[in-house]
C-alpha cells in the first residue's frame, strides 16, 4: 500500500547495515540465553525493549531469574550497571544522589546516586513509598536528574528494569496507573519447563559453590554507543499505514471492550509501534508486520488497562481479556 510518511523522510536502511544490526542482536540474544535458561519470550521482549529505548517492568515470583536476566543484558554491552534494592525506608536521595559539603574546598560537591548508570535494576520497586517511586519515574521520563537545582543528563542508553513480586501485598506500594504508563512493557516471568529446570539444575550444581547462576560466561559484545546506534536504527524501521492503523485499532478497542474499565491511552499506541519496530529487528526484518504488533500487544498493553471489578470477580485477568481482544480485532491484509 503506502509507505509510512514518517519513515519515508528518513534514509532507507541499507542491507549491509541491517544485516550487521541483526547479527549484533542475534549474538546478544545468544549470550543472554547462555546465562538465562529458558524464558525465551521474556529474553526477546526485554532485548526488544532495550532496542526500543524503553523501560521494562518485570513481574514474577522470587527465584525465576529476574535479576540474572538484567545482569546478563548488562554484561552484553560495556555499560554501567547498578542495582537498587527498594525498601520502605529508601529515600529519593538514595536513588538520585545528593550534595555533600566538602570541608577542604569549602564547597558542595555532588555525590551521584546509583541512577547514574546505563542499566538500572530497581529490585522490588513496589516496596518503596510513592515519593521514592515518583523520583525514579521522573528520571525515566526526563532522563535527567536534578540535584540542588542543577540538572544532570544521563548518558544514553538509559534503561530501567524494575521488578515486583505479585504475591506479597502487605507493606507494598502498588504503582499507580499513570506511573505504570512510563514503562514501555510489562513482562511476566513464569516458571520454567521441566527440561529447562533440569538444565538449570545441572548448570548450577556443577563445580559451583552456592546456588546462584552466574553471568561470568556472558561475553561483552558492544559498547553503549552501539546500543544507541541500534536504537536509532529501530526508529527507522518501516511501518506501513495499515499496520499502524491496526495498532491504533487494538488500542482503541481496549477503551470499549467489555470487562476493561479503563483502556489504554494514546501513549499505548505509540509504545505498541515502538515495541513492534524493535521486535521486527529482532526477527531480522526492516519492516513491521501485523504479527509484530500482535506479539507486542500483550506486554505493551497489560499494564495500561484496568480490569473492571465485575471481571475481577469472575476471575478474569488483564491478560485473558487482552488475548480475547487481540483475537477479535481484525488484522490488516495490506
Amino acid at each position: 500500500m503506502n509507505d509510512n510518511t514518517a519513515t519515508s523522510a528518513a534514509p532507507a536502511i541499507t542491507a549491509e547495515r541491517l544485516n550487521q544490526a541483526i547479527g549484533i542482536v542475534q549474538r546478544m540474544r545468544e549470550e543472554i540465553r547462555s546465562a538465562v535458561i529458558g524464558q525465551q519470550a521474556v529474553v526477546d521482549q526485554v532485548l526488544a525493549c532495550c532496542l526500543a529505548g524503553g523501560h521494562v517492568l518485570i513481574e514474577g515470583v522470587p527465584g525465576l531469574g529476574k535479576t540474572l536476566l538484567v545482569k546478563a543484558l548488562a554484561k552484553t554491552f560495556a555499560g554501567d550497571f547498578s542495582r537498587i534494592q527498594f525498601t520502605p525506608d529508601l529515600m529519593p536521595a538514595d536513588v538520585m544522589g545528593h550534595a555533600v559539603y566538602d570541608m577542604k574546598s569549602q564547597s558542595f560537591s555532588v555525590r551521584r546516586g546509583p541512577v547514574f548508570a546505563h542499566l538500572l535494576l530497581a529490585d522490588e520497586i513496589n516496596r518503596a513509598p510513592a515519593k521514592t517511586q515518583s523520583s525514579l519515574l521522573e528520571v525515566m521520563q526526563e532522563r535527567q536528574v536534578t540535584i540542588e537545582g542543577e540538572s544532570h543528563r544521563l548518558a544514553p542508553p538509559f534503561m530501567v528494569l524494575a521488578t515486583q513480586n505479585p504475591l506479597e501485598n502487605e507493606g507494598t506500594y502498588p504503582l499507580p496507573e499513570a506511573q505504570l504508563d512510563r514503562f514501555l512493557i510489562k513482562v511476566r516471568i513464569d516458571y520454567p519447563s521441566a527440561d529447562e529446570e533440569e538444565q538449570m539444575l545441572r548448570m548450577v550444581t556443577r563445580d559451583r559453590v552456592g546456588d546462584g547462576l552466574e553471568v561470568s560466561q556472558v561475553a561483552t559484545l558492544v559498547k553503549p554507543d552501539t546500543i544507541v546506534a541500534l536504537q536509532q536504527l529501530v526508529a527507522r524501521i518501516r511501518v506501513d499505514d495499515a499496520v499502524a492503523a491496526y495498532a491504533v485499532r487494538l488500542v482503541r478497542a481496549t477503551r470499549d471492550w467489555p470487562g476493561i474499565a479503563i483502556g489504554a491511552g494514546p501513549r499505548g499506541s505509540i509504545a505498541l509501534v515502538r515495541m513492534a519496530r524493535a521486535m521486527a529487528l529482532t526477527s531480522g526484518r526492516d519492516y513491521v508486520t501485523p504479527d509484530d504488533i500482535k506479539a507486542a500487544a500483550l506486554p505493551v498493553l497489560r499494564h495500561r488497562i484496568a480490569v473492571s471489578p465485575e471481571s475481577e470477580l469472575d476471575g478474569l485477568s488483564s491478560d485473558e481479556l487482552l488475548l480475547g481482544l487481540i483475537e477479535e480485532v481484525a488484522a490488516p491484509r495490506g
Partner: protein, 531 residues
C-alpha cells in the same frame, strides 16, 4: 401403630405447640436419635472432606453434595422417635441397621426437584416411611394431612431450621476466625473469604466443611423430631385418637368384662330407675340471661345444615321429652355445629363480602412443587446441553461439524471460492505483467487463503494475522491434514505478500512465476488436470 401405647399426652394442640412437643420428645430420646443421625452423617462428612482434600477448588460442590443427601439420613432419627413414642425401645445401632430398609418412598422426589422446593419434607417423611404410602396414595395422604395450615407450618419451620443452620455455621466460622486470623484484620471471616480467585487453602475449606457439618448435626434431629410431632398431632386430631384411646380404655378384656357385667347391669338399672322417678333434669340456663350465658350466646345453625324433621306430637308426654331432648342437643358438643366469634367491619361493601365468603383456597403446595419440577427438568436439560456444547470438541461428530463451517471473509478479504477467477494464476501473471504488482500479490495471497479454508478446512478468524495463518497451516500439516507441498506454497506466497504489502519490496519476476507454478501444481488448474 398402637396408639393406646402413645407416650405423649393427647389433647388438642396448635401447630406451634405440636412443634414444641418435638423438642420434649427429642429431649427424652436425644441419645439414640442423635447417635443414629451422626452414625450416618459422619461418614458422609468424611467423604466430603476427602473430596475437598482431593479438589479444594470444588469444595463448594462437596459441601452441596453432603447437604443434598441429608433428607435420607433424617430417616434414622425418625425411626428411633417413631418407635420410642409408642413405647418401643430402639437403640441407635438398630436404627442404623434398619436404615437401608427405611429409604423407600419419596427418595427420588427428595433427591431431585423436591430437594430445593420441599422445605416441609420432615412432615411428609412419616407418610412415606411409617405409613408406607406410595405414589397417588401418598400424594392424597399428604394433601389430607397438610390441611388446616399444617403443611405451611412445616414449611416455615423448615425455613427457620435452615436459617438456624446458617447462623450456627457463621457463628462457628466467626469463632474460629477470631482466633486464627491476623490480629490486624478486624473481619473474622476474611480467613474464609477467597475473593482473589487464587487456589483455595485446603485447611480453611475443611474448617468451613466442619462448621457446616456441626450445624447440620445439631439441627437435623431437631427438625425431624418437631415435624414428627406435628404429624402426630395432625393425625390425632384428624382421626380422633383421644376418643379411640378412651374407647379402648373402656373396652376391657373378656374376663374382666364378665366379672363387671352384673355390676354394670346393676348400675344401669339404678340409672333407669332414677330417670323414670321424675328426678328433674339438670337445670340449664335460659338463653339470653346474663347469669346463665356468661361466655357466648347461642347462634343459629349454619345454612344448608340438615336438621331432623319433626313430626306432630302424638301424646302430651312427648312434649316434655322433646323439650328435654332439645335441651340436651343444645349442648355445644352435641348440636352438630360450632359457634365462632370474630371481629368484622361494620360497613363492608359487597366486594369485600364476596372476598370474605370465597372459600379459602388451601395453598396448593403441589402446584408449586409441579412448577419447580418443570423448572428443575428444564434446568437439567439446559445444563446437559451446556455441558455438551462446552466440551463439544471432545466429541468427534462435533469436531467434524466445526470443521465444516469455514470462514468466508478474513480481515476484509473475500475468500469465497466463487470470488476467485477461474484461472487464478493466469490472472496473477496478467496483473504482474501489467505493472499491478500489489494487486497480483494480493490475489495470490487471497487465493491461497481461500484454498486453505475451503479445501483444507483451516479454521481462520478475523484476528488472525499472516503469521497466525501460517502457524495454523503448519499445525494442520503436523496433523497430516494439509499436504507438505501445499504448506510450502502457502509459506512462499505469504512471504511474497508480506514483503510487498508492508515493505513495498516486490519480488523478482522469476520468484513470482516460480510461486505461481507451484501454486498451480498444488491448488490450481494444473492439479485439476493431473487429477
Amino acid at each position: 401403630m398402637q396408639i393406646d401405647k402413645l407416650q405423649i399426652e393427647l389433647r388438642p394442640r396448635t401447630n406451634a405447640q405440636a412443634l414444641d412437643l418435638g423438642f420434649s420428645l427429642l429431649h427424652s430420646h436425644a441419645g439414640a436419635a442423635y447417635m443414629a443421625f451422626l452414625a450416618l452423617w459422619l461418614p458422609v462428612v468424611a467423604l466430603c472432606a476427602a473430596l475437598t482434600v482431593w479438589r479444594p477448588d470444588l469444595s463448594w460442590a462437596w459441601l452441596i453434595l453432603g447437604w443434598w443427601f441429608k433428607p435420607l439420613l433424617e430417616r434414622a432419627p425418625l425411626y428411633v422417635l417413631s418407635r420410642q413414642v409408642f413405647g418401643t425401645a430402639v437403640t441407635w445401632q438398630e436404627a442404623v441397621r434398619a436404615w437401608p430398609g427405611q429409604l423407600g418412598g419419596g427418595w427420588f422426589r427428595l433427591l431431585t426437584w423436591g430437594r430445593l422446593t420441599c422445605a416441609g419434607r420432615g412432615f411428609w417423611q412419616p407418610v412415606w416411611q411409617l405409613e408406607g404410602a406410595r405414589g397417588a396414595v401418598a400424594s392424597a395422604r399428604r394433601s389430607a394431612l397438610g390441611k388446616n395450615r399444617t403443611a405451611s407450618a412445616a414449611v416455615w419451620f423448615g425455613v427457620v431450621c435452615a436459617h438456624l443452620e446458617v447462623v450456627l455455621q457463621l457463628g462457628a466460622l466467626g469463632f474460629i476466625g477470631i482466633f486464627a486470623a491476623d490480629g490486624k484484620i478486624g473481619n473474622p471471616f476474611s480467613l474464609f473469604a477467597n475473593m482473589t480467585g487464587d487456589t483455595p487453602d485446603v485447611f480453611t475449606e475443611l474448617l468451613t466443611l466442619g462448621a457446616f457439618a456441626l450445624s447440620v448435626a445439631l439441627i437435623a434431629p431437631v427438625y425431624t423430631a418437631c415435624c414428627f410431632t406435628l404429624y402426630l398431632n395432625r393425625r390425632a386430631s384428624m382421626e380422633a385418637w383421644d376418643l379411640e384411646i378412651k374407647l379402648r380404655q373402656i373396652k376391657r378384656p373378656q374376663a374382666l368384662r364378665a366379672r363387671a357385667a352384673p355390676l354394670a347391669a346393676l348400675l344401669a338399672g339404678a340409672g333407669m330407675l332414677l330417670a323414670l322417678s321424675g328426678i328433674p333434669a339438670p337445670v340449664r340456663a335460659a338463653p339470653g340471661t346474663a347469669a346463665s350465658a356468661p361466655a357466648r350466646a347461642p347462634c343459629a345453625p349454619p345454612k344448608g345444615m340438615n336438621l331432623p324433621e319433626r313430626g306432630p306430637l302424638q301424646a302430651p308426654e312427648q312434649a316434655r321429652i322433646r323439650q328435654q331432648l332439645d335441651q340436651l342437643y343444645a349442648e355445644p358438643d352435641l348440636r352438630g355445629y360450632e359457634c365462632v366469634e370474630s371481629w368484622e367491619f361494620k360497613n363492608r361493601n359487597i366486594k369485600e363480602k364476596k372476598k370474605e365468603v370465597r372459600p379459602r383456597s388451601s395453598f396448593d403446595m403441589n402446584l408449586i412443587a409441579s412448577i419447580f419440577k418443570v423448572l428443575f427438568i428444564a434446568f437439567a436439560i439446559g445444563l446437559v446441553a451446556w455441558v455438551l456444547y462446552r466440551y463439544r470438541h471432545h466429541f468427534p461428530s462435533f469436531e467434524r461439524a466445526a470443521k465444516a463451517r469455514v470462514a468466508t471473509e478474513i480481515g476484509g478479504l473475500n475468500i469465497r471460492a466463487e470470488s476467485l477467477p477461474p484461472d487464478v494464476m493466469a490472472q496473477v501473471r496478467a496483473l504482474w505483467s501489467g505493472g499491478e504488482q500489489r494487486a497480483a500479490l494480493a490475489l495470490l495471497y487471497r487465493a491461497t487463503l481461500s484454498r486453505l479454508v475451503n479445501e483444507d478446512a483451516l479454521a481462520l478468524r478475523q484476528g488472525n494475522t499472516e503469521g497466525d495463518c501460517l502457524r495454523l497451516a503448519r499445525q494442520a500439516a503436523q496433523r497430516q491434514q494439509l499436504a507438505q507441498a501445499r504448506l510450502e506454497v502457502a509459506i512462499s506466497a505469504t512471504s511474497l505478500w508480506l514483503g510487498g504489502a508492508y515493505a513495498a519490496r516486490w519480488p523478482a519476476d522469476d520468484a513470482l512465476l516460480a510461486c505461481c507454478a507451484a501454486w498451480d501444481a498444488q491448488f490450481g488448474t494444473a492439479r485439476e488436470a493431473t487429477a
